[in-house]
């Protein structure tokens, strides 16, 4: 760009603005930045390469390499008794949890937003604090015990309930923000015309806060879809296990791992969250404004 003279003086004496050393440093820092970004790109892309190549390789190995293209590997999914059914289990767990979380959180958030309950803010912060402290990892022992006593071992409903309990506080918190931001005038006029609270909820509040409900729903699905620990602890046997657990058993159990199956299954299992992410980021922009929560 600029004429970079080689005679850069010692860095310590401050050159006046616009002189050559500043330009040199500028060019160098630009180059440094590109090199750094390329390294970052390499670091983050490298582990993902295998996921992109192996499923389509005629003879998949553990090394990522240019595939000799085939779609035959996907037949391995049909041959394995648990591959496709585990994805269905994941859908079941994710959908069940999302419905429960969105419904219960919306009801609670609406009540907290519209009615002056004493100690409301303290309650909300207390719940949020609780949900960030009481993680599945820190309470796996009592959760297991509890599930055992409530007869929820090996029950998908048990997994759904436990996951919902963990997600609800943050969901209520997010939805209350959405509810607080919507004007109450529609509700008031609907009430004047004799609508019942549940009607108002269904026909006025829900349509208005739909973006909030969608946000919480997507967030719940993403959380459950990848969750390994809770179903791993509670579900026995592969019939009810979701994809997260089946994936783990595929590469840990028994002899030589079937790479055709592993690679295609990984891809199929990853695809929904990847698509969801693309959808969300193209529609709403995947950014933080100020700060917040995963």
């Amino acid at each position: 760009m600029s004429t970079a003279t080689r005679t850069a003086p010692a860095r310590t004496d401050r050159p006046a603005p616009g002189t050559a050393p500043v330009a040199v440093r500028h060019v160098l820092s630009r180059i440094g930045r590109y090199v750094f970004l390329c390294a970052v790109l390499g670091f983050f892309a490298l582990p993902l390469l295998w996921l992109a190549t192996a499923p389509f390789d005629e003879t998949p190995t553990i090394t990522a390499s240019l595939p000799r293209f085939t779609l035959d590997n996907f037949r391995a999914l049909l041959d394995n008794p648990y591959a496709l059914s585990s994805l269905l289990n994941s859908v079941y767990l994710a959908a069940g949890t999302a419905v429960l979380v969105v419904t219960f959180a919306a009801l609670a958030a609406y009540a907290l937003s519209r009615v002056r309950v004493p100690g409301r803010d303290a309650l909300l912060y207390g719940l949020l604090l609780l949900s960030s402290i009481v993680t599945g990892t820190a309470t796996m022992v009592p959760l297991f015990e509890l599930a055992f006593r409530l007869n929820l071992i090996d029950s998908r409903l048990g997994v759904i309930l436990i996951l919902s309990g963990g997600l609800l506080p943050a969901a209520i918190f997010i939805l209350k923000d959405f509810m607080d931001a919507t004007p109450t005038s529609y509700e008031e006029s609907a009430r004047v015309f004799g609508a019942s609270p549940l009607q108002i909820m269904r026909h006025i509040v829900v349509p208005v806060v739909r973006p909030g409900l969608a946000t919480v729903g997507v967030w719940a699905v993403a959380n459950v879809w990848g969750n390994f620990l809770v179903p791993f602890l509670l579900l026995r046997g592969p019939e009810k296990a979701p994809a997260a657990v089946i994936m783990y058993t595929l590469y840990t159990e028994g002899g030589q791992a079937d790479l055709r199956l592993l690679s295609t299954f990984s891809l199929l299992y990853s695809l929904p969250v990847a698509l969801m992410f693309v959808f969300v980021s193209s529609r709403y922009g995947f950014r933080f404004h100020g700060g917040i929560k995963r």
């Binding site: 090394t63 309950v117 993680t135 820190a138 297991f144 309930l161 990848g226 390994f228």
Partner: protein, 302 residues
């Protein structure tokens, strides 16, 4: 706690809900939270002072053994080494790895729009959103001794990363896995730093370090603290390393979550495991309280 039903008739809220119905709206969510967050937390405390086991005599009628589990933990070599490994894991992968790399990426991309930024951000975010059992296998494949892509690239076949350097492996893995959050948080924070201030500092001859120290950091201090506390909390509770090394070899990557799992659920010592869990809960509580206090203070000054 909530809903003293003194209100006569409908409270003056928009939908005419009234306290009674509002309480009704709260109940389903609160029941789930009570049952699956509050009860487990409280139960951890109780279980931690018993000799409860998964099977055998102590499973039928557990006895209260007081603080035995805690004194045992203190003298247990395996617990102490697990604690040290956890500290390494949190410091290495969250504080240094995720926060450092996340900031560096956000800073390098700060005034950039266009395909390069989208590409970098896309890959960083992808590693964050993929299911953990999938990325765990991707890393096992990457680091494989014989056929791993990393060894093939570096031209050093036969290096058993997961056996020889298990901690380093899971630290780098978790850095890769979680940098996205820090990157996005710092990207948002850097938008609060006026470009003109940076420009002025640069023209005055300040180097990158000086700019960061004198211009950037004072303005994003709150974000840095938020970031460090949240990622420390998450990393401390991360179970994903279990999917890669399962704590091995020889417990050399056995961080606390994995340790609890092995002692309590594989080993069947639920009482002892609960005691360790309680220690984890306390550590979580400390991190979370520091975080909340800080948020409160920031709100006051704002």
């Amino acid at each position: 706690m909530k809903g003293r039903r003194r209100a006569t008739g409908a409270a003056p809220d928009a939908a005419g809900l009234g306290r009674a119905r509002a309480t009704g709206f709260l109940v389903p969510g609160m029941v789930l939270i009570l049952l699956f967050l509050v009860v487990p937390a409280a139960w951890t405390i109780y279980l931690g002072v018993t000799n409860y086991r998964l099977t055998g005599l102590a499973a039928a009628n557990p006895e209260v053994v007081g603080l035995d589990n805690y004194t045992r933990a203190l003298t247990d070599e395996r617990f102490r080494s697990s604690l040290v490994l956890t500290l390494q894991f949190v410091l290495g992968s969250a504080v240094i790895g995720q926060a450092g790399l996340g900031f560096a990426i956000a800073y390098a991309l700060r005034d950039r729009r266009g395909p390069l930024r989208r590409l970098v951000e896309g890959f960083v975010l992808l590693s964050w959103i993929l299911p953990s059992s999938v990325v765990a296998f991707l890393w096992i494949a990457l680091l494989d001794r014989d056929g791993g892509t990393l060894n093939a690239l570096l031209g050093i076949p036969g290096t058993a990363w997961l056996l020889d350097h298990p901690m380093l492996s899971i630290i780098v893995f978790n850095t890769w896995r979680g940098t996205a959050f820090s990157m996005m948080l710092y990207a948002a924070a850097l938008e609060n730093v006026p470009r003109s201030h940076l420009e002025t500092a640069r023209l005055a001859g300040a180097g990158t370090w000086q700019q960061l120290r004198d211009v950037v950091f004072p303005r994003i201090r709150g974000h840095v603290l938020t970031n460090l506390l949240l990622i420390s909390l998450w990393t401390f509770n991360d179970f994903a390393p279990f999917l890669i090394t399962a704590g091995g070899p020889e417990q050399r990557s056995e961080i606390l979550p994995v340790y609890v799992y092995k002692v309590a659920l594989s080993g069947g010592e639920l009482g002892f495991g609960a005691a360790i869990s309680f220690v984890m809960l306390l550590i979580n509580l400390v991190i979370a309280l520091v975080y909340l206090r800080m948020l409160g203070r920031r709100k006051e000054t704002a």
